[in-house]
Symmetry: C2
Subunit: 347 residues, 2 copies
């Protein structure tokens, strides 16, 4: 009977989704996964925080209203986000970090990650910022403190990409990858193929909750660029910063471009890609590319994401699945915890 104590940092959709998975499935996980989870602390800049070293009821946490300082409504809770206290002193074995991504300096998430690792906690996160900007430092910190640092959900939510490449494709010699790494922009392109103009398609994505009020990060490729940095550094051993990746979005594509492609049986896709050059250097980019029908990513429509790995021994291996979603991203945290458990038990 292994039980991991977990602290949740950020209590928006993702960690709330994880709390829901725990509320629904914890009893069955002992049998199916070999462990259960006990939430011992939660902190959120907007909602406040709570510590319960004997375990907090996951279902109660899930029902917490999304109101400022709401944790003060619970016995022992506080309207203040006592981040450092929850991360370092709630007795957690594992810290699940799922706050918002700051693409400039990765804060405050990166500090949360440092605190967790320095305190000897395993760290799981779905946050692109700390990984794209500070992965090397955080990995070294995990190593130095003898804990695991897992972040499958930083790219394509729960769809396995990083773990697929590192484990199942180990030894296949990955030379590069191409990916459809942003669901919003792929949704917009799919609507444009049906005849909508760019602005109309963006409005539709906003109406359905796929796009933010300001869609810039999605349609101009900035979100994809962070993911390209993560995958290139992770899978190709690159040492790229965000500014090493050229970046062009889809706002320049016209209805005429889309139509012309369609007549040729081709499709415009926003592709994040990196490849190792003959001299060992890495070239990485984000740009619209015209894909012929037989390209492994040509069939990826709607808000689906996909990555096609170019491997020396297998040629193209492609994985597709959801790239966002509350439960889908919460599953990424669960899969990271499973990986920690597996590494520990040698299964």
């Amino acid at each position: 009977m292994t039980e991991y104590k977990i602290a949740l940092v950020g209590f928006g959709g993702v960690n709330r989704g994880l709390a829901q998975l725990i509320a629904d499935s914890n009893p069955s996980w002992q049998a199916t996964l070999g462990f259960s989870l006990k939430i011992v602390g939660v902190t959120d800049l907007f909602l406040g925080s709570i510590i319960g070293r004997d375990g907090l009821d996951a279902a109660t946490l899930v029902r917490l209203p999304a109101a400022k300082g709401a944790f003060a409504q619970l016995p022992g809770g506080s309207a203040d986000a006592m981040n450092e206290e929850v991360i370092k002193h709630s007795g957690a074995d594992i810290v699940a970090e799922a706050t918002f991504t700051n693409p400039v300096d990765g804060e405050p998430a990166t500090s949360f990650c440092r605190w967790a690792l320095q305190a000897g906690k395993h760290l799981v996160t779905t946050n692109k910022g700390p990984i794209a900007l500070h992965a090397a430092e955080l990995k070294a910190l995990a190593e130095a403190n003898g804990v695991r640092f897992e972040y499958e959900g930083a790219v394509m939510s729960g769809t396995p990409v990083i773990r697929l490449a590192r484990q199942a494709l180990a030894g296949s010699r990955i030379k590069g990858f191409e990916g459809i790494l942003n669901g919003t922009s792929n949704f917009v392109l799919t609507r444009m193929e049906e005849g909508l103009g760019f602005a109309e398609a963006v409005s539709k994505a906003q109406a359905l909750g796929y796009a933010e009020a300001d869609p810039t990060a999605d349609v101009e490729g900035f979100d994809v660029r962070l993911k390209v940095v993560i995958l290139a550094n992770e899978l190709l051993g690159a040492h790229l910063g965000v500014n090493d990746v050229s970046c062009k979005g889809i706002s320049g594509l016209s209805a005429a471009d889309i139509d012309a492609a369609k007549r040729d049986g081709a499709r415009w896709k926003l592709i994040g890609a990196a490849q190792r050059n003959a001299d060992g250097s890495i070239h990485a980019s984000v740009e619209p590319r015209l894909l012929k029908a037989e390209h492994p990513l040509a069939g990826i429509s709607e808000a689906i994401n996909a990555v096609s790995f170019d491997t020396e021994l297998l040629g193209a291996v492609t994985v597709s699945g959801p790239g966002a979603g509350r439960i889908e991203t919460a599953f990424a945290l669960l899969s990271d915890i499973i990986a920690i458990h597996t590494a520990k038990t040698g299964q």
Copy 2:
């Protein structure tokens, strides 16, 4: 410096491919994978056998002519296939079984597998027969003897399917799968979409080496059926035998069927599928299915294989890649050995 001694059983394309990978890459594997491989024995019903407890030169083995009794040409080699001797007494830590698939009783491969496991050797195989027919017995034997039994290459050659589902998708609650699991039949369907008749398309597949002289197993679904049995038992906890899977191939599809689908933007695909019913029972089938353009498998053309997993937490997650090929299948054995190493070292 970990070194595994390996015995190769069957020396057709696949294990010859593995020998080639060893000849090419063994020195670099210490740095990249953490181990190297030493071939200590090879046996093949047609070529004979050889044992070299201090290590056989992989490059020499790769160059061996494909002539009856050819191992007798090498110092210490024999024209006789001393299978039991090589498997049990060559000093191997790992046995790589890659003989031909016998879909009726799985022999002689299953006996080779039993010998290896009983002798306390880790076993890796790409052979569908023993897995489809005797997986439960062989798993129990591995467990009882404290060794690993890995068979990623039994389905879709080196493209990770079994390991993807068991490791990266652990906890996602797989409810079923649909797969394009035979490259030959998918190649035939792709050619028929270009206007060839069934017989012409089969001839073309034969001319290119995709189809056997007798294409029955490929086009009538018997090959796919074995893979459905393997995946259903492995991923859904089913206990299916071959006869529990209904099986209909593509030979009944006419040019008119293909054309009608094309006009609707749909495609006929030979789909091997299984799903868990509400009562816990498993329904499994092989049959041509008409897929709409937005189906995750609709874009899979030529000889490419793919599996789409239906998961409770992520919805559809799909992986595509090669389903055959000498080096591609040899990579499956390498990935199995990497998994053995990882389990041993807890990486």
